[in-house]
C-alpha cells in the first residue's frame, strides 16, 4: 500500500476528513472565513456574531525616554503597528509614567477628545484657554481640542512619579469650540459598582464628551461578578485592566491587559482577584 492509500484508509475509518480532500485535483469549495476580526478591529460588514480583540499588556508598544516610560495599546509616536491603530473611535490608550518634575511641554492638538485619568501622583495641566489645574487619583479630566488648543502636562511633584492613562477619542463633531472639564469622583461609589466617569450627556454622571462614548471605572472585590450593557447599538466596549485579574466573557485578563468586544449587547465581568477596571464604550464606526 502506498502512502496516499494508507492515509486515505486511515482517515476513512475515522470520518474526520473527506477522502476527496486527498484527491490530487482539489474539489472547489466556498472559501471559509479564517477569522472574525475585521481590519483595524472593525466588524466585517456581514458579521453579526460577537467579535473580540485581545491586547496582552506585554504586547503593547513600549518606549522609555528616561523621564517618560510609556506603553501604547495602539500605534503612537514611534510605535507603529498597522493592525493596532484604533478600536472604533478609540484612538489612543497610553499608560504613562513620568519622572518627578518632568512632563510634556506645550504642544498643540485639534479635533480630538483627550481624557486623562491619573492613577498615581499629581499631574499639572495648563492650556491656551487659560485653564490651570492639578489632577490626581480619583479625578478625571477631559479636553475637547476642537478648532485647536495648546497645553502642557507636568508631574507636579519633584520627588515621585506620576502614572496616568492618556486616552484619545475621535470627536463626533469636528471644529467645536475647545473646552476643558474635570470632576473628582468618590472611590467608594465604584466598589463592586461600575461608576460612570465619561458620558455624552451634559446632564448625566461624568465629564461630557463630544462623542457617543461612555467610560466606567470599577473597583471589584475577589469573586464579584457583574454585567455591563453596551449603551448604544453599533458601539463596542474596550476593557482595560488597571490592576488585578479579571475574566471578561470567558477571556482571562491580567494587569494592563485590554480586550475589545463588539457586536454584542452586554459583557460579563468576573473578578478573579481584587481588581480595578476601566470600560470604554465607543462607537465602532
Amino acid at each position: 500500500m502506498n502512502r496516499i492509500d494508507f492515509i486515505k484508509k486511515a482517515l476513512a475509518t475515522t470520518g474526520a476528513v473527506s477522502i476527496n480532500a486527498l484527491s490530487t485535483k482539489p474539489e472547489a469549495r466556498p472559501a471559509l472565513p479564517i477569522a472574525q476580526i475585521g481590519f483595524n478591529h472593525l466588524p466585517l460588514e456581514n458579521n453579526t456574531t460577537m467579535n473580540t480583540v485581545l491586547h496582552k499588556a506585554a504586547t503593547r508598544g513600549h518606549a522609555n525616554h528616561g523621564w517618560l516610560d510609556t506603553n501604547h495599546t495602539f500605534s503612537f509616536a514611534h510605535y507603529y503597528d498597522p493592525t493596532r491603530t484604533h478600536f472604533g473611535q478609540l484612538r489612543v490608550l497610553n499608560d504613562d509614567f513620568v519622572d518627578g518634575g518632568m512632563g510634556f511641554g506645550t504642544h498643540p492638538h485639534d479635533n480630538m477628545e483627550i481624557i486623562s485619568i491619573p492613577l498615581l501622583g499629581d499631574l499639572e495641566h495648563k492650556d491656551s484657554m487659560g485653564n490651570a489645574a492639578v489632577i490626581q487619583q480619583n479625578d478625571v479630566q477631559i479636553m475637547s481640542a476642537g478648532t485647536g488648543i495648546y497645553h502642557s502636562e507636568y508631574n507636579k511633584n519633584k520627588d515621585s512619579k506620576v502614572n496616568f492613562l492618556q486616552i484619545w477619542v475621535f470627536p463626533k463633531e469636528r471644529n467645536i469650540t475647545p473646552r476643558y472639564d474635570q470632576i473628582t469622583f468618590k472611590p467608594e461609589d465604584r466598589v463592586n459598582k461600575l461608576q460612570q466617569i465619561v458620558s455624552p450627556s451634559k446632564t448625566d454622571d461624568g465629564v461630557w464628551i463630544n462623542q457617543d462614548a461612555w467610560f466606567h471605572l470599577g473597583n471589584l472585590t475577589k469573586d464579584f461578578t457583574t454585567e455591563y450593557s453596551i449603551k448604544q447599538k453599533g458601539n463596542g466596549v474596550y476593557a482595560f485592566i488597571i490592576n488585578g485579574d479579571v475574566t471578561i466573557n470567558n477571556q482571562k485578563l491580567n494587569k494592563r491587559d485590554g480586550v475589545g468586544i463588539w457586536n454584542t449587547e452586554r459583557i460579563s465581568i468576573h473578578a478573579n482577584s481584587e481588581a480595578e477596571i476601566l470600560l470604554m464604550d465607543v462607537p465602532m464606526n
Binding site: 509616536a77 497610553n94 504642544h107 498643540p108 485639534d110 479635533n111 480630538m112 485647536g148
Partner: protein, 101 residues
C-alpha cells in the same frame, strides 16, 4: 523625499505641524492657512500627501478634495490632529504607505 501640504486655520498649530514635519530628513512640508493659498501651492508643486487640520470647515474640505483630486487623482488626503505628541507621524506613515483605492 515626501512632499506634504498642510492646511489649517490656526496659525500657531499650522506652524508647529510644518516645523515637526520638516524636522524629518525624508519629509518636506508647506503650510497654507486659506483655501486659495492651498489651491495655488498645489497647482505649482507636486505633493505626495495633503493634511487637513483643525478649523477647516467641512464645506472647504470637500471643495479642496475635489480641486486636488482633479489635478492629481491619486493624491492622498487625510485629517491631522494638531501634531501633539504622537499621532502626526503615525497618520502620515499610514497614509503614505497605504495603497489608495
Amino acid at each position: 523625499m515626501k512632499n506634504i501640504l498642510v492646511i489649517g486655520r490656526h496659525p500657531q498649530i499650522l506652524e508647529t505641524v510644518v516645523r515637526l514635519i520638516n524636522s524629518q530628513p525624508d519629509m518636506k512640508a508647506i503650510g497654507a492657512l486659506s483655501d486659495d493659498e492651498a489651491k495655488k501651492v498645489f497647482g505649482e508643486q507636486t505633493f505626495d500627501l495633503v493634511l487637513i487640520g483643525g478649523g477647516v470647515e467641512e464645506k472647504s474640505e470637500a471643495g479642496l478634495k475635489v480641486f486636488f483630486e482633479k489635478i492629481n487623482p491619486r493624491i492622498k488626503i487625510i485629517k491631522h490632529y494638531g501634531g501633539g505628541s504622537g499621532l502626526l507621524f503615525n497618520e502620515i506613515t499610514e497614509a503614505i504607505y497605504a495603497t489608495k483605492k
